[in-house]
Amino acid sequence: MSKKKDVNFYFSAKEIAEERTIDPAAQEMIVKAVEDGVETVWERLAKQQPQCGYGQMGICCTNCAMGPCRIDPFGNGPDKGVCGATEDTIVARNLATMLATGAASHSDHGREIVEVAYETALGKTQGYEITDVEKLKRVATEYGIDTDRSKEEIARDLALAMLEEFGTIKNSIQLVERAPEPRKELWRNLNIMPRSVDREIVEIMHRVHMGVDTDYVNILLQALRASLSDGWGGSMMATEFSDILFGTPEPKESWVNLGVLSHDEVNIVLHGHNPVLSEMIVKASRDPELVALAKEKGAKGINPVGMCCTGNELLVRQGVPIAGNMLNQEMALVTGAVEAMVVDYQCISPASQRLPSATIPR
């Protein structure tokens, strides 16, 4: 009578774990989660199978109140939405919306880094400093900023120049000039040179609105323009000022997988995408007073470990070991060895907050 195929019926916990990952450390935790009956990302994926065909094909439109509409892929039912949008229009609008979401999150991350740099230049922050002055001067030169001044003055003007480009009316982004000339020529010919970071994202949201852009080629060209405004704008600003604030990365040796969690130290998992918060936690974890406090309480020290893209930022700049990718976040909590998971944003599963060990104060 049960309609759902129960994986536990077919496999032992170990077989399930081997099916899910090749990483032996994560396998151990999957076995523990399965045996403890803890629901994780894989159980939820199984329950979603098969996933909605309309969603996968992108032929469902929820953009206006006359809908939701969808196209019949079998060719017997509706071939247009109520407004008349064809499958090409609907697919292009849905794809453009997804790209706008991605560009917005990358670029807003960039904006926050530049804002922190600006506040730091004004002396309004604690803990942050201008670390890579050489890189600061190099980027400032591209923006035509006088570098024969104090690093704070240069950083202030560079941060302001970048922040201005999020909503600029000058209709260009300086860092785009780094692209090779033939590539820029191609973008100019397609009329997709990005004009500002925020504007291109807003224009996507405008164009996918009911009754605006219906030409799928034109919609996709705008999606490309917004992608360029992110890749050569917001995201690139994030990289440049992260390096200026926290140091430019160089090759490092470190450790990877859940094995980086320690048996006898205070484990702090730093998860998310933006180094602004996690860099400060790493700094604090090296503070002699805090380390002494941890030792006084019986631990051997403080062990910050990275996860997901915040983990990468910390790995390349601080050599902090990385516990895993986005799929490992629940596994880290399942160990029961994590004292705190400090998160910023992006890829933070709502499920992580609900796992038992995430709520038990330790």
Partner: protein, 204 residues
């Protein structure tokens, strides 16, 4: 007797069962490639709108005795000994449509299929996913249904569940003056809402 039991009130009209059915019986069995196939895969289950925004996923009920089998002049339709399902030998089908004429549910359509190499369209009915059943899986439409509007199981087990629910409602009403056992509040609200919304429905 195992069957695909329909709980019409739980059907939200998402047509996920149709997509899953077409993919299951396709050549490539992949959502992103099936719609490039020739002939284009089709569903064998049909979600039709009723009144008050209700929908009904209609498919072959695998009747016994089956009118379609009785009407088929070439014996193309036969009963599967293991599952009791009404199946088709595509090469015997002469596309006379007698089966569709006598079908009490009008769920027999005619299409070309990739695995029966004939030039004409043939009977295109639900095969009860007998291959999936042989592997211990439920039919594709049932697996795809996320609201349990479609459930696969022993018919007597499935109706027993409904009977028990009815008994609970009946006994919880004992000694009261209501004419019928009261409905759960959520079901009543859902029905009332659909009745109000349907005033705006094009079908009204």
């Amino acid at each position: 007797m195992k069957t695909v039991f329909v709980n019409p009130e739980r059907c939200i009209g998402c047509r996920h069962c149709e997509v899953a059915c077409a993919i299951e019986h396709s050549q490539t069995k992949e959502v992103l490639t099936v719609f490039f196939e020739d002939p284009l895969p089709q569903p064998r289950i049909h979600v039709e709108p009723g009144i008050d925004f209700t929908t009904f996923p209609n498919k072959c009920r695998h009747c016994n005795p089956a009118p379609c089998m009785q009407a088929c002049p070439t014996g193309a339709l036969y009963r599967d000994g293991t599952t009791g399902s009404v199946l088709l030998d595509g090469y015997k089908c002469i596309a006379c449509s007698m089966c569709a004429i006598v079908c009490p549910f009008d769920v027999i359509t005619f299409h070309k299929t990739w695995n029966i190499k004939v030039e004409h369209e043939i009977n295109f009915k639900c095969d009860h996913c007998v291959e999936r059943q042989a592997r211990g899986e439920v039919p594709a439409c049932v697996e795809a249904c996320k609201t349990d509007a479609l459930i696969f199981g022993e018919i007597n087990e499935l109706t027993k569940q409904g009977r028990q629910d009815f008994t609970l409602r009946l006994t919880s009403n004992a000694g009261r003056v209501d004419e019928t056992p009261s409905l759960p509040a959520s079901v009543k609200m859902s029905r009332d809402m659909n009745a109000k919304l349907s005033k705006f429905s094009p079908l009204e």
